[in-house]
């Protein structure tokens, strides 16, 4: 509810922001504050880029100063040495920064975590050294003078114009950031941050997204650099040291990573600190380092997180105490699922083999799952079930054999391609994105709808109207089918385990799958909760979905399945109806041990 309200007020906020920007040069007590406004605006743009990169997609960059420098030089050099007009040199600066971003994005494509941090750190360093030494081009530490300013022919009001340009750019970028955070792109980036393998299984081309977001953050850092160059009219290599990269990171962290409002707050705090400590410059680095440590160790959610906590505290005081703990209905009665566009298809595995480092995990495994049936895959520990399900889902590549999904041979396709062909999976260790609400988690599963993110949606969003009604309606219908629609706006962390399992199921269902792979759908549930899942799965089957599940709870499996395949030591040892499987000698032996072990003898035993 509060989300909806604040969304409705959004256009008012933007209007106020525009008025403030327009009036700031006349409101500011002296020109210094206009200058401060300029600095705030372009710095915030770079911080927004970093927030999307680190906060949303979870990729570390210690080299944003490099892109910033490239943007600044790209525009400053063409405008001075080559005499290009500003309207041409500025986009050129952005272009070069973007190209560099794509180039470094290739590194991001291949590496992550520590390696990416190292590569970006080295990149920033190389750019700084280049700027220092390529004196002919950049002027080195002495700098490049006479960079044209944004005076529009009226040089007395240059400060005002520069501020307006920077602020206008910031407003546009912030709008873009807000859109990313409130649309499917943001959800997808969060999913990639929390689990790449999960993101693939909901159909995302992860490398493409990672590179794209890297390039986007480079362009934003470049834009900040371009604006900086034309604000100051003088560009020296001293401006682009590692300290700038760290300062941008500090702003992103203080503001609150992963929140669209974080960069504005963080940059404001950074600019304020920079002014305050100008008088204590001898201990400037201690202050910066201290802030970085204090925020990360004590308030990792940053200023935005603290505000949110404060607001929650006030809200809680207003509401009756019980309101925060929404009633959890004991018995849920799932309804038939909403009509999807895909009918249940068949799944056929033929001659699948897989070995790790010489150890055979699967040997010539074949079985087929008929459309609109529930098929269980069981077997003792180490039988190869997880390997098999990962080979079917495409997270592992089988050494040989074929996987047919309906009419498609998918054995050579990647996980995200299989997902798009109608294969949905749930995970044993739940893969719910903690930063998203239940409904947003479910929307993550939705296939791209026509018109999603289209002009109409953007216009409605700008007007503060709901812009994802179609997606929300679909997601609600799915949640409703599992009788958990009332939990739509909660976060997964607040829910009991049984409900989280249902949310995971809902997300798989939202993918409108023809075949659902469920990895231990009732592990950790009490009998009542397991029963609810069983009811839901039956409904799904009756509505035509095909389900392949791995599960250890035998009551559940025997009660629910139409057919059971039993694996042991990577080989299929039985494939039949539950009652036949239960009585099968080989199955019993696989689980309990063959009855051929001699009685205990004493004495020592030698190795084989």
């Amino acid at each position: 509810m509060s989300v909806q309200n604040s969304r409705r007020l959004a256009p008012v906020g933007w209007l106020l922001a525009i008025i403030l920007v327009a009036a700031w040069p006349s409101l500011a007590p002296n020109p210094f504050f206009v200058h401060l406004g300029q600095t705030f605006a372009y710095t915030a743009i770079a911080v927004i880029g970093l927030n999307i990169l680190l906060g949303l997609s979870g990729q570390m960059s210690l080299g944003q100063a490099g892109f910033y420098a490239i943007g600044a030089y790209g525009s400053a050099i063409t405008a001075t040495s080559f005499g290009w007009p500003i309207w041409l040199s500025m986009p050129f600066g952005l272009l070069v920064a973007g190209l560099m971003g794509v180039l470094l994005g290739l590194v991001a494509l291949r590496t992550r975590g520590l390696y990416l941090a190292m590569a970006t750190l080295a990149f920033g360093f190389i750019v700084e050294i280049w700027a220092q030494r390529a004196v002919d081009l950049t002027g080195g530490t002495m700098g490049l003078f006479g960079v044209p300013q944004l005076d529009f022919g009226d040089f007395r009001n240059v400060a005002t114009y520069t501020f307006w340009v920077c602020a206008a750019a910031l407003i546009l970028v912030q709008l873009g950031s807000d859109w990313v955070f409130s649309s499917s792109s943001g959800r997808r980036l969060r999913a990639i941050k929390e689990s790449e393998s999960f993101a693939q299984t909901v159909g995302l081309n992860v490398p493409l997204w990672r590179t794209a977001v890297f390039a986007a953050s480079a362009v934003l850092a470049g834009l900040a650099g371009v604006l900086f160059a034309h604000q100051s009219g003088f560009v020296s290599s001293d401006a682009f040291s590692i300290r700038l990269s760290i300062a941008l990171l500090i702003a992103a962290v203080i503001g609150g990573l992963g929140d669209t409002r974080g960069p504005l707050l963080g940059t404001a705090i950074l600019v304020a600190i920079a002014e305050v400590i100008a008088g204590f410059h001898t201990i400037g680095l201690i202050i910066y380092g201290g802030i970085l440590l204090a925020v990360l160790l004590l308030v990792p959610e940053g200023a935005v997180g603290m505000l949110r906590a404060a607001v929650k505290l006030v809200r809680r005081a207003d509401l009756p105490a019980t309101a925060s703990e929404a009633p959890v209905p004991q018995a849920l009665t799932p309804r038939p699922p909403p009509p999807g566009t895909r009918r249940g298809g068949s799944l056929e595995v033929v001659g699948l083999s897989k070995a790790y480092a010489g150890v055979v995990a699967l040997r010539d495994v074949s079985f087929s799952v008929a459309p609109a049936t529930i098929h269980a895959l069981i077997g003792p520990n180490g039988a190869g079930k997880s390997t098999l399900i990962n080979c079917v889902a495409g997270l592992y590549r089988a050494d040989s054999g074929s996987v047919r999904l309906g009419d498609h041979e998918v054995a050579s396709l990647s996980a995200h391609q299989r997902a798009r062909l109608g294969l949905a999976r749930s995970f044993q260790n739940l893969q719910l994105i903690s930063g998203l609400t239940v409904i947003e988690n479910v929307m993550l599963g939705l296939p791209r709808l026509a018109g999603e993110g289209g002009v109409r949606a953007v216009m409605r969003w700008l007007a503060g109207l709901p812009h994802e009604e179609a997606e929300r309606a679909r997601a609600i219908a799915v949640l409703d089918a599992l009788a958990i629609a009332h939990l739509a706006d909660r976060t997964p962390g607040e829910l009991p385990y049984g409900h989280r399992k249902l949310v995971e199921l809902a997300r798989a269902l939202a993918q409108d799958p023809s075949v659902m792979l469920l990895d231990e759908p009732v592990a950790g549930l009490n009998p009542l909760e397991a029963q609810q899942i069983a009811i839901a799965l039956r409904r799904l089957r009756d509505s035509g979905k095909t389900i392949l599940l791995v599960e250890h709870n035998m009551e559940f499996v025997m009660d629910l399945s139409d057919r059971i395949t039993v694996l042991d030591h990577g080989v299929v040892i039985a494939d039949d109806t539950p009652s036949v499987v239960q009585a099968d000698k080989r199955v019993i032996a696989a689980y309990l041990g063959a009855d051929d072990i001699e009685a205990p003898e004493s004495g020592k035993v030698t190795g084989p």
């Binding site: 520990n381 231990e520 009998p527 499987v581 689980y591 309990l592 001699e598 020592k604 190795g607």
Partner: protein, 235 residues
């Protein structure tokens, strides 16, 4: 030697163990059985304090061990061989054997040498391969190494998590027989196994877990005859 009194434990929101009690005397062997996900591994992990208890207590050598760090328990002779053998692949067989023994509270080199000799006699293959990296042993050899490495710590209570997992039947049998012979030296053994029959044949008593609770218990011979055993696995 060890007594587990009404313990419960949770992992996140899931209660994985509830109200489990048993005790094992010196020289006795208890088989803890049950299907995948029944809570067998969690049981051993909570006895070793790797998984905090949410209720109940464990006494070892008549002493309440709640809050004692796992490595201190191991040094005192409550030794736990975790699932998957956990042989350090980059270390030699010999180094693997010395890992635990070199941390014992009272450690004297003579004793260590004697123990090493005992283990090489128990599993001669380890003597032959003592210089090669643990990672290049076969599964069965790794399991022998895991058992020997634990015995080098002179356990009073030895807990093993599925030692037969992934082994060929004869090898599994050899390992189980070696365990039985330990009890004659007064070691209390808790053997977690999924493969019930082999384990019960060498056990004195058995405990069958299901959904984190005790589903069946009794002497090994009673359990082997109990029809409920198969049902507890296959529904």
């Amino acid at each position: 030697m060890i007594a587990v009194e009404a313990i419960s434990a949770r992992i996140g929101a899931v209660e994985v163990l509830s109200d489990i009690s048993f005790s094992v005397a010196p020289g006795a062997l208890l088989a803890v059985l049950g299907a995948n996900g029944a809570g067998k591994t969690s049981l051993l992990r909570s006895v070793s304090n790797l998984l905090p208890l949410s209720g109940g207590r464990v006494t070892y050598d008549r002493q309440d061990i709640s809050g004692i760090a796992p490595h201190l328990l191991a040094r005192k002779g409550l030794v736990h061989v975790p699932q998957g053998r956990q042989i350090v692949p980059t270390l030699s067989v010999l180094d693997n054997l010395l890992l635990g023994a070199s941390h014992l509270s009272q450690n004297d080199p003579d004793m260590m040498r004697k123990n090493l000799e005992d283990e090489f006699t128990r599993f001669p293959v380890l003597r032959e391969r003592q210089r090669i990296p643990g990672g290049s042993l076969s599964g069965g050899e790794q399991q022998m190494l895991a058992v020997s490495r634990a015995l080098m710590m002179r356990p009073k209570v030895l807990m093993l998590d599925e030692p037969s997992l992934g082994l060929a039947p004869q090898v599994a049998r050899a390992i189980l027989r070696a365990l039985r012979s330990l009890t004659e030296q007064g070691v209390a053994v808790i053997l977690v196994e999924q493969i019930a029959i082999g384990a019960l044949k060498i056990a004195d008593n058995g405990l069958v877990l299901r959904n984190g609770q005790v589903a069946l218990r009794g002497s090994a011979t009673e359990l082997l005859a109990d029809r409920g055993l198969v049902e507890s696995y296959l529904g």
